[in-house]
């Protein structure tokens, strides 16, 4: 019941906003849009680009997660995993500079090649640059999810594998792959949607308008041509295509369950395999460098004289505070929306209600494919009669950030809750433990880790996002990403670089803090 309420308020808000916009600017015959060929070309290019981005992100995440699971002890492992969690949240403009600083014409890679006597040959601008950026954003997320799936395998599995003498290949084929295959569609769907709706990246690194997405076309229609009807039509097409592809992805999903147990990866029989060791070291070094180097570039850029001035400046402190408030409020809201939905989802899956669970799946991810401009415009139309709309900016930013975080939170919580439910539901039902008691006593100890991760991710995601409301005007709203954009806009690149670095640091600290606060088990025993 709670689940349906949470779900309908989530999906309802989006549908109301879209519906309001569509009634204001009714779309015409959608099939007509493809006649001029331009839109078909954009769709073809976008599908290709997003498909490749997804494919590469996922195919690199699998060996990366595996290597990290096998190498439990090396210097900087925890740091690498945590650092990679913040690549997803960096404002796109900062990420563009970070990536250019590494892979660009004047970037580290080319300077190194130059020093080795090569001509400068490597140019990222074009499809390459888009893929590099999209993989930079999405590889870490996929890796973290895959790693937690692999690490959830119980010790008995590894003991059995050891006893049967399974090598690295058999372990992958018979133990890890079946498990990963069950979560890949979910994550791939998410990555695909994120890449499909990319805007600033496809332009800045795409080398020109060739790789423009539908998102750009929607912006053009709504802002450049002020043709709302066409904007709505394109928005519907974008939503339709994404949902269709996500349905296709989901239909390949297999039922799965993994127990929330202690990490027993040290029992793996393949950690001492010599080829595996070399391969792992290679993978971790290369992909680790790939993820960390743009971040490092952002940090190095910030080592300038502006650093000390900024951290004590009132505008910076004020923006930091609003960012913290927004991110924590949005994260808590996102979690409160997602938990009931995840329980409902588990319930539906166990009852075999495939259609309803797919509805839930799609409905909760809808927000990712609704163009921000049309969502913002729709919400604006819904709320415009309210007095003082501009003062509501903060609340709207919180609401929208929470909604945007829900698909991520759900994808982390669902598998954990599903797995726990198999362990505890029958027993709880037979003992009459229900409601809050069941959550607190039976579930919580099993899901606190993923909840901590989900909350931390939601908080950092909301920290990095400006919110669609910035498109429509606010008064006195200042967040760190907005501050960065404003500093860039005022030529103050050095100061912007400092704030960008501080934003990353803050996200990193926040991530670490929340994950420990919620996810650490010691404190739970202290209660008894």
């Amino acid at each position: 019941m709670l689940g349906w309420i949470a779900f309908s308020s989530l999906a309802g808000t989006i549908l109301l906003a879209l519906g309001g916009l569509a009634s204001q600017a009714p779309p015409g015959d959608l099939s007509q849009i493809f006649v001029d060929g331009e839109i078909s070309r954009i769709v073809r290019h976008t599908v290709l680009q997003a498909g490749l981005s997804t494919l590469i992100s996922i195919s690199l995440a699998i060996p990366f997660a595996r290597a990290l699971a096998r190498r439990q002890k090396f210097w900087g492992r925890a740091l690498l995993i945590r650092l990679s969690s913040i690549s997803l949240i960096i404002p796109t403009m900062v990420a563009v500079f970070g990536i250019a600083a590494v892979f660009g014409h004047n970037g580290g890679v080319n300077q190194a090649l130059n020093a080795l006597g090569f001509e400068r040959i490597f140019s990222i601008y074009g499809l390459k640059g888009i893929l590099i950026a999209h993989v930079f954003f999405n590889l870490p997320l996929a890796t973290r999810v895959f790693l937690s799936v692999i690490e959830s395998l119980p010790g008995e599995t590894w003991r059995l594998a050891r006893q049967l003498g399974l090598g690295p290949v058999s372990i992958f084929r018979y133990i890890e792959w079946p498990l990963l295959r069950s979560v890949i569609p979910n994550i791939a769907g998410l990555v695909f949607m994120l890449c499909f709706t990319s805007f600033a990246i496809v332009l800045a690194l795409g080398g020109g308008p060739k790789w423009s997405t539908l998102e750009v076309a929607i912006y053009q229609a709504m802002r450049f041509d002020f043709d709302l009807n066409r904007g709505v039509e394109l928005a519907f097409i974008q939503i339709g295509i994404c949902l269709l592809l996500v349905v296709l992805f989901s239909s390949t999903r297999k039922g799965f369950s993994f127990q929330a147990t202690q990490n027993r990866s040290e029992l793996r029989p393949d950690t001492n395999h010599s080829i595996a060791r070399i391969v792992d070291i290679l993978i971790i070094t290369l992909l680790g460098a790939y993820i960390v180097s743009p971040l490092l570039a952002v940090f190095l850029k910030a080592m300038n004289p502006a650093l000390l001035q900024i951290i004590v400046r009132a505008d910076f402190i004020q923006a930091t505070l609003s960012s913290l408030i927004i991110s924590l409020s949005a994260a808590i809201l996102a979690l409160s929306l997602s938990l009931p939905i995840a329980f409902l989802y588990t319930d539906l899956q166990r009852k075999g209600a495939a259609r309803k669970s797919m509805l839930l799946d799609i409905g909760s991810a809808l927000i990712l494919v609704v163009p921000p401009l049309s969502l913002g415009m729709g919400l604006f139309l819904l709320l415009r009669s309210m007095a003082g709309l501009s003062q509501l900016g903060l609340y709207l930013v919180i609401l929208i950030n929470a909604m945007l975080a829900v698909p991520f939170v759900l994808r982390i919580l669902q598998p954990a809750i599903y797995a726990s439910s198999q362990q505890v539901d029958r027993l709880s039902a037979s003992l009459g433990i229900r409601g809050w008691d069941r959550f607190k006593l039976a579930y919580w100890p099993n899901i606190r880790k993923p909840v901590g991760f989900a909350l931390a991710l939601a908080a950092t995601l909301s920290m990095g996002d400006m919110g669609v409301i910035a498109l429509f005007g606010t008064q006195d709203l200042s967040t760190l990403p907005l501050l960065i954009y404003r500093l860039f806009g005022a030529y103050r690149m050095e100061e912007a670089a400092v704030v960008a670095m501080l934003l990353c640091l803050l996200c990193f600290a926040l991530f670490w803090f929340i994950e420990h606060l919620i996810g650490d088990e010691k404190s739970s025993d202290a209660q008894s």
């Binding site: 362990q423 027993l427 039902a429 069941r438």
Partner: protein
């Protein structure tokens, strides 16, 4: 008296059965694995909705009741304990779903632990116990809950002969002290011989 009439249609599984177990006696559901013994127990305990079922205990119709509302306790092959809760909590949670116990209930937990011979193990987590000890903790909870009908789903699977006998003895004593009615799913004739007054052969028709 437990009276049951059950029809199950699930994929290839097809069961039509009716049986009755007089109060204070035991009945064994016997049959090869996959024959549907567990399904019958699931229907009686309320975890599985059969195509058709009419289940009465002491004249009360059970079918519309939630598992926890039924006058019964069930012990599964596994997952009888919450692995993250210690022994004491695992028993206590059967008496009060929020772990808030009265003084009397506190004593009840102590007594039942003592009864299964595990006094002093209150603080241990299930993972640190042997399989036999784990099942005895679960049995202690059955005792503490004090429901008149006991359902057992292959509860001795995975235990060695000696532990199996210990469990059978415990259950025998439990039945006599509490005048329990027992429905047991097993594939071992020995279980039926020692604990039950009648055997119900289960054979799924295909």
């Amino acid at each position: 008296m437990l009276k049951a009439e059950i029809k199950i249609r699930y994929d290839t599984l097809k069961i039509d059965c009716s049986f009755s177990v007089p109060a204070g006696t035991g009945a064994a559901l016997m049959g090869s694995s996959g024959s549907g013994k567990s399904s019958i127990l699931s229907v009686v305990s309320g975890f599985y909705q059969a195509h058709h079922s009419e289940i009465y205990f002491q004249g009360q119709r059970l079918d519309a009741l939630e598992p926890a509302e039924r006058p019964l306790t069930i012990l599964f092959q596994d997952h009888n304990l919450f692995s993250h809760l210690n022994v004491w909590k695992n028993i206590a949670i059967g008496l009060s779903p929020n772990l808030k116990l009265s003084a009397k209930q506190h004593r009840l937990v102590e007594e039942s632990l003592d009864w299964v011979g595990l006094s002093g193990m209150q603080g241990r987590k299930p993972g640190t116990l042997s399989g036999g000890q784990q099942q005895r903790v679960a049995l202690a909870r059955c005792l503490a809950r004090d429901k008149p009908l006991l359902l057992l789903d292959e509860p001795f699977a995975g235990l060695d002969e000696k532990r199996q006998q210990e469990m059978r003895d415990l259950i025998n004593r439990l039945m006599q002290e509490k005048n329990l009615t027992l429905l047991l799913a097993t594939h071992q004739a020995e279980d039926a011989r020692q604990l039950c007054d009648q055997v119900i052969e289960v054979e799924a028709s295909i």
